[in-house]
């Protein structure tokens, strides 16, 4: 970077910090710099094909362009079935209930399938863990299925081999190990909640008594697990936000992280939503280190170092009179201090809501914090109402770090002959750096890797077995609430994939069973004598297995298996059924113990395990971490969109703007603005992080509300073998947080040194400006103010009277579609964006294009900060922005070819095939929701993506404008169906993709001409307002203002609005 830019960066102070690099862009040096990073179009110049094409056209370019318009259509073929499936109506989709497991936990879904191609994933509305919603990862799974970079064949040392050969290899390995009781046999997998898989694993361990099964998931809450194990059986917490009036989080991001987040969001939103009937809302205190979306929703947010949370928790326990195990207390204790005031206020509030309050420990906090939270909840009598503790859904819960350390030690000692790694967890990339997994892996004689991709680990293993995508395979797994959920295939494996259980089965007495057989066999026996309480919907037992199984495949889950309904811990052992499997009951019992022993150190509470000091004790005492010895605190977090890197090759997730920063395609290290100022850092400056002898680099991003002496780094980037989408450029390979992670401090630790490298990494940010500039696109009031004077919302903007126009009003008879978005409920999780991408065939444009301001998302989630930069309690708001479908649409007026017009139902139609691409409409759109195909963004070359596209939505080509249509394809289908039945469309019959996926039901769509429709009712609320109504655009999409519920003791009722900046 040239000095002039540096000086301008240095010159920027105060508010400027969350303004953008864009503002620096007017200096040529910066552009020059960007061009070096993205040599714009240089690639085409050098690529011979491009050049030839160029020379071809060079001669008569304009003439040639004309020809494109008047060509005849190519002839198409129709290829009918030979024998048509029974229930299939060509041209109409089928829906199947299934589950997408994530870290072993089921995410229940309904999968839409067109002529045998799965095209869209929705949540399973019948299922308690989903109620129709999903998270972003589940939405994006559909792209994962069709990813052309998936592992395509079984290979041995890179040579393609048939399944048979692998099969025999396993058999021989098995027979060798038999003699040694399987002493050299090791399995590594993520946590397993699948009963059938657990049984297979148990039976394998029974066959090889000395074999060991290790579990590792880089993003798993060892703290929670350890705490739960310490409680013995039934230590796993399930929260009930629908009952919680006061919620205190101790560094917990329950809204967007963890298997329960989808359901938690629903309950939390419902319990906070103000309606005509309900005028009470819950209150959320967030005590957190790294800013999270949960913190963004909090009424009060207190930022502190991750290491200080425990101390705060302990004091809180003291304040509410809960027994707290001894341990470090946080520095500030005197009631005058900020912490003191907070403690007092929160404690008081909690006491006032005994039984209706809830304290949640963060999944990335050590066991001690979880224990504290539990004892506080007990003291407040919340257990049983707002939180219930039940048996674990994991078979053999284990301290993962310890388990992996154990494995690596064995590998190092040369005790591992055969290592089978199941389920595509990529330890070479993601194992703690001090374990040196890659180099220890060399000491393994026979390494088998089973996963979706040929990743960093796979390339170091002898056998690679492609995993089958959940949409390709049979299986069962349990959702966070314990419900056993069935995974069923919608399409035959595209790339010869085999599910983990099939690979594992090769070492059982019936080695060649396919997933379906294993699954059905297990449940046949379980139906007969399982520990399971299997009941039909009406609570009655099924009359026979077939009824049960048909029902289960239809519903996608097994009723009555939820922990709440008395569902047991996932049994880890071989079910005792005579003649089903050739092992007797007695043996089974014995095996189960052995197996448990095999899965050491599972049963023993980790704190006691000498081999691996439990994370709890590794927490650096606060005073050590206050930066006295100059060290900063380093906090690890999974990336909000690519997680630990398992989604690195998923373009949808890569391009999804990361919440709070809106950065795409890159990992960033978060620092507080103050720290950035101290160190003279600007967004995009690459820093070197030195921590416990390890080093990594990362571009920084300034995030208000971040603890001042901490730095947060995110996993998932710097991948070398992720695939064409996820591979990092050589310069970016150092942006890998796993390079810093050590096994003794998996989530945070002190002693970090950062140094400015002077390099810059251009970040592709979709929103560069995060203050509202007094324009109040988001309107806010406290619940008290709103109750006192509901007009306070309307007064934050101006709405011209409808009579103020020279033209007669256009009457909309019949349907009149409209949408209401409750930004009070929106958490900013961005599931709507991904759902929209999947539903509407929205292309991925890539980092360079996003950086040039050309992202294609039809619904974006705007994010605004409010409050003082140096104030930790900075407020953040999220606002999903689809097309407003204005009745007086400025875009329509200026289109020269009538490519965008108004439909009789008030939709702002966009006709792609008529569009000539003047981009005038976009210029004239005050909401800037229109998107333009500046280049040929749709991937026409990758055949494997064709079946993924939604056949009901045109695939847009180069040079045309596109935008949100309110999912007009769904409206049309519903209208046609209704007309065929001579009825009207029912309220709720048409769900837009964003509405359907939204976990907090923030988006409601419907017919405004029907006074009883949900949307009409919402729009009657006083807090309903339209953005930029002063322009008289008459938006059909309106918003429900944010209502906050601050504690008067912490926030004097000064009339506050986010608009005074």
């Amino acid at each position: 970077m040239s000095s002039s830019i540096k000086s301008r960066l240095a010159g920027s102070h105060g508010r400027v910090y969350w303004r953008s690099l864009g503002e620096l862009a007017d200096t040529p040096e910066f552009r020059e710099y960007l061009h070096r990073e993205f040599p714009e179009q240089a690639s085409e110049w050098n690529d011979p094909k491009g050049r030839r094409q160029f020379l071809k056209l060079m001669s008569a370019s304009l003439a040639l362009a004309g020809v494109g318009a008047c060509t005849k259509q190519p002839t198409e073929e129709i290829v009918p079935y030979v024998r048509q499936p029974e229930d299939l109506v060509p041209g109409r989709p089928l829906f199947f209930a299934s589950a997408i497991p994530f870290s072993g936990v089921a995410h229940p879904v309904l999968v839409e399938s067109h002529m045998g191609h799965p095209t869209k994933i929705e949540g399973n509305p019948e299922h308690q863990a989903s109620l129709g919603a999903t998270d972003t990862f589940t939405q994006a799974a559909i792209l994962g299925l069709y990813d052309p970079d998936r592992a395509r064949a079984i290979t041995n040392r890179g040579e393609i081999k048939p399944w048979g050969l692998f099969f025999s290899a396993m058999l021989s390995a098995g027979s060798q190990q038999k003699g040694r009781q399987g002493a050299g046999l090791r399995f590594l997998s993520g946590p397993i909640t699948s009963p059938s898989m657990a049984e297979v694993m148990a039976s394998v361990l029974a066959t090889f008594p000395q074999a060991k099964w290790h579990q590792y998931d880089p993003i798993s809450s060892d703290g929670a697990r350890a705490a739960a194990l310490a409680e013995g059986a039934g230590g796993d917490a399930i929260y009930h936000f629908d009952k919680a009036d006061v919620v205190v989080t101790l560094d917990a991001d329950f809204l967007t992280c963890g298997p329960g987040s989808v359901r938690y969001q629903k309950d939390f939103a419902t319990h906070r939503r103000i309606t005509e009937e309900r005028k009470e809302m819950s209150r959320l205190y967030a005590i957190e280190s790294t800013p999270t979306l949960t913190g963004a929703k909090a009424d009060h947010r207190l930022a502190m170092k991750a290491s200080e949370v425990e101390g705060f928790g302990r004091q809180l326990a003291g304040a509410v009179g809960a027994p707290a195990p001894a341990g470090p207390a946080s520095g500030a204790t005197d009631p005058a201090s900020v912490i003191g005031k907070w403690l007092a206020a929160i404690a008081k509030d909690l006491q006032a809501h005994r039984g209706r309050s809830l304290v949640i420990a963060g999944q990335y906090q050590p066991a001690s914090v979880h224990t504290l939270a539990r004892s506080i909840n007990q003291a407040l009598g919340n257990v049983g109402s707002t939180v219930t503790y039940g048996p674990s859904i994991e078979a053999a819960p284990t301290d993962h770090t310890a388990s992996l350390t154990d494995l690596v030690r064995a590998m190092d000692a040369g005790q591992v002959d055969v290592l089978v790694m199941l389920g595509g967890l990529n330890p070479v990339y993601s194992a703690p750096v001090d374990l040196k997994f890659a180099e220890k892996l060399k000491k393994v004689n026979l390494s088998v890797y089973h996963g979706l991709y040929v990743d960093e680990t796979a390339s170091l293993c002898q056998w690679n077995v492609p995993d089958a995508h959940p949409l390709e395979s049979w299986g069962d797994s349990r959702s966070f609430d314990g419900t056993v959920t069935i995974t069923q295939p919608l399409i035959a494996p595209l790339y010869d994939g085999h599910s983990a259980v099939e690979v594992l089965a090769t070492l059982t007495s019936q080695p060649d069973r396919r997933g379906h057989v294993i699954l059905k066999d297990y449940w046949t026996r379980a139906f007969a004598v399982g520990p399971w309480t299997i009941r039909s919907g009406d609570g009655q037992p099924f009359k026979n297995f077939d009824a049960f199984w048909r029902r289960t495949l239809h519903d996608g889950f097994i009723n009555g298996t939820a922990v709440a309904d008395g569902g047991p811990a996932t049994p880890f052992g071989v079910m005792a059924v005579p003649a089903a499997v050739p092992i007797t009951t007695a043996v089974a019992g014995m095996r189960a113990d052995q197996a448990a022993a095999g899965a050491a150190p599972a049963p023993q509470p980790p704190p006691a395990a000498p081999a691996t000091p439990p994370p709890a004790t590794t927490t650096a005492p606060p005073q050590a971490a206050t930066g006295a010895q100059g060290g900063l605190e380093l906090i690890f977090r999974p990336d909000p969109t690519v997680w630990d890197g398992r989604f690195s090759n998923n373009g949808w997730l890569q391009e999804l703007p990361k919440p709070l920063t809106k950065v795409t395609w890159d990992a960033t290290a978060w620092v507080s603005p103050q720290l950035a100022r101290e160190r003279g850092l600007e967004d995009g400056d690459v820093i070197e992080l030195r921590y416990r002898g390890n080093a990594a680099r990362m571009p920084i991003f300034r995030v208000p509300g971040h603890p001042q002496q901490s730095v947060t780094v995110f996993f998932g980037y710097g991948r070398q073998k992720a695939g064409n989408v996820g591979n990092a450029t050589t310069s970016a390979q150092a942006f890998n947080a796993f390079l810093l992670r050590t096994s003794d401090a998996p989530w945070f630790g002190s002693g970090l040194e950062i140094a400015k490298t002077g390099e810059r990494h251009p970040l592709a940010v979709t929103q560069e400006h995060h203050v509202m500039e007094g324009r109040a696109p988001v309107r806010v009031a406290t619940i008290e103010e709103y109750k006192k004077e509901p007009k306070i919302i309307a007064e934050q903007g101006e709405t011209p009277p409808r009579t103020l126009t020279m033209y007669p009003e256009y009457k909309y008879e019949g349907y009149k579609w409209g949408m209401a978005i409750d930004i009070g409920s929106c958490t900013g999780c961005s599931a709507c964006t991904i759902a929209c991408v999947a539903e509407n065939n929205i292309p991925i444009v890539g980092k360079e294009e996003v950086a040039s301001g050309r992202e294609m998302h039809w619904i974006r989630v705007d994010h605004y900060f409010a409050g003082n930069e140096d104030d930790n309690a900075v407020e953040a708001y999220h606002q999903p922005v689809p097309c407003m479908q204005c009745e007086n649409a400025p875009c329509e007026l200026v289109c020269p070819v009538a490519a965008t017009t108004h439909s009789s139902e008030g939709l702002n139609d966009m006709v792609y095939n008529r569009c000539v691409g003047t981009r005038y409409c976009s210029n004239n759109c005050p909401y800037k929701v229109r998107r333009f195909n500046f280049l040929l963004y749709q991937d026409w070359d990758t055949q494997s993506l064709y079946p993924m596209r939604n056949p009901d939505v045109s695939v847009r080509s180069r040079g045309v404008m596109e935008k949100c249509t309110y999912c007009v394809q769904r409206i049309n289908q519903a209208r046609i169906d209704a007309k065929r039945e001579d009825r009207d469309i029912r309220d709720g019959e048409v769900l837009t993709a964003c509405q359907q996926v939204c976990p907090s039901d923030a988006i409601v769509f419907g017919n405004l001409n029907d006074p009883n429709s949900q949307v009409s009712k919402l729009k009657l609320q006083e807090r309903n307002y339209g953005v930029l109504e002063s322009l008289n655009t008459r938006p059909r999409t309106t918003y429900l203002a944010v209502l906050r519920n601050p504690n008067p003791e912490l926030e004097p009722q000064a009339s506050r609005s986010t608009t005074e900046h």
Partner: protein, 458 residues
């Protein structure tokens, strides 16, 4: 009694000229074989520029609009800036030939011909942009025209872009007619002066057999005057319509009632600057000082000064309205222009368009070709910057802070822009080679000998 000394304006033609000399000197340039090397150089430069333009457009058609710097929110970049700039330049030609004709300004006579040529070529350059800036030019080329089609769909006549299509094409056609009508008698002259038969036949055909009959002249004059009468509102309407492209929009910085007048003023301003830029070298190159006298240059200087002040008034009032409206968006727009990311553009615009022309108050500068040339260059640049301000800084920060962005041209934007300048140069150099760059027959009318003695003055 002796007559009072009355003020007589300096002559628009140096004394001592007869029909013959005028004819010879102007027609000579076309009919002679030899030509200054500078001409060949100019033509070469122009040709190279045109090739660059062709290349840029070809690549654009292959890859798509994305090779430019445009994005969301700045959907229009160089293309529209250049379009407005070129159209503006075109205006001086029509203005000189039409409005000054109606105002009986005889000094227009020696500049209108090449000013009109300039108009044509400028409009040609301008016309390229609206077409190629679209995402699918091969469709835009005819979907914007009303013709019966199989879709039963027609253009959307409420869109200013359609108005553009009609305005610009009408403008081009009418200017062309005007220019040609003016040329006919001169073509006849060339016909009669040319040596070789083919050349004579060529000019003969182009002059349609003009023979200078009085009855012809009478209708000719009437038609010419009527054309002038038609072109005058036309030229005003064209830039008004161009300004509608912005004012019909609701974007702060676009949605403004003051645009039409100050766009027109700006257009004339830019146009005269370009006329000076062309005239000053030409008169030296082809020794036309007798016909392009100081009086011409000075008058053009004066026009620039006036129109420049009108434009300045426009700027002032934009700011005033913003303040007076007490509208957040308007006010921020003005603030952002002055102190936002593109502040440098704004202030250099002020320098070029408002500060520099003030020197024209001074007669010594108005009468110094070098200084005039220098200032006219500033104005050319300044007017381009003005369009940059209007297009880019208005769009890059409009209503919702969340969708603010920034714009910077790519090499393709720049190649296209300079490519059109090259095209303009090439066309212009070809023109001065093959056609009389000054209207000969009109020059004859201002030769003293043209006066009819004893006739009542009219």
């Amino acid at each position: 009694m002796k007559a009072e000394p009355v003020y007589a304006p300096p002559p628009v033609i140096e004394p001592g000229h007869t029909f013959q000399t005028v004819t010879e000197q102007i027609a000579g340039i076309v009919l002679t074989r030899r030509h200054p090397y500078s001409w060949f150089f100019g033509l070469f430069v122009g040709f190279m520029g045109s090739m660059m333009l062709l290349m840029a457009i070809t690549w654009l058609l292959i890859k798509g609009t994305g090779i430019w710097g445009v994005n969301i929110p700045i959907g229009w970049g160089f293309a529209i800036i250049n379009f407005v700039w070129w159209i503006g330049i075109g205006h001086a030609g029509t203005l000189i030939s039409a409005i000054l004709l109606l105002l009986k300004q005889d000094w227009r006579t020696s500049i209108n011909r090449f000013a009109e040529a300039m108009t044509l070529f400028a409009v040609v350059c301008a016309g390229i942009f609206p077409l190629i800036h679209t995402g699918r030019p091969w469709l835009a080329a005819y979907w914007l025209l009303p013709y019966p089609n199989t879709m039963g769909i027609w253009p959307q006549f409420r869109s200013p872009l359609i108005w553009d299509v009609f305005a610009v094409s009408t403008y081009l056609t009418v200017s062309l007619l005007f220019w040609y009508v003016g040329l006919v008698p001169d073509l006849a002259t060339l016909r009669d002066r040319a040596k070789s038969l083919p050349i004579r036949r060529l000019f003969g055909a182009l002059s349609l057999g003009w023979r200078g009959a009085a009855r012809h002249w009478e209708r000719y004059e009437e038609a010419y005057l009527l054309l002038a009468g038609l072109s005058t509102p036309l030229v005003l309407s064209v830039h008004t319509v161009v300004s509608f492209d912005f004012t019909i929009g609701i974007i702060p910085g676009w949605h403004s009632t003051i645009f039409p007048p100050y766009f027109v003023a700006g257009a004339i301003y830019a146009g005269f600057a370009m006329v000076l830029t062309l005239a000053i070298p030409l008169r030296v190159l082809y020794h036309l000082e007798d016909f392009l006298t100081m009086r011409h240059l000075e008058n053009m200087g004066k026009v620039m000064l006036v129109t420049g002040l009108i434009v300045g008034y426009g700027y002032v009032f934009e700011a005033f309205f913003a303040w007076y409206s007490s509208n957040t968006y308007e006010q921020y727009m003005v603030y952002n222009r002055m102190f936002g990311p593109y502040w440098a553009f704004y202030w250099s615009l002020i320098l070029c368009n408002i500060v520099m022309p003030q020197f024209l108050w001074k007669k010594s500068i108005r009468t110094s070709p070098a200084m005039l040339f220098f200032i006219s260059m500033f104005v050319n640049v300044g007017m381009w910057l003005e369009r940059f301000e209007i297009v880019v800084t208005s769009l890059h920060r409009d209503f919702l802070p969340s969708s603010w962005g920034w714009y910077w041209p790519t090499r393709w934007d720049i190649m296209t822009f300079f490519g059109t300048i090259g095209l303009f140069i090439m066309l212009f150099f070809l023109f001065i080679r093959v056609l009389p760059m000054i209207s000969i027959f009109e020059m004859r009318t201002i030769v003293p000998a043209a006066k009819v003695k004893g006739a009542k003055a009219h």
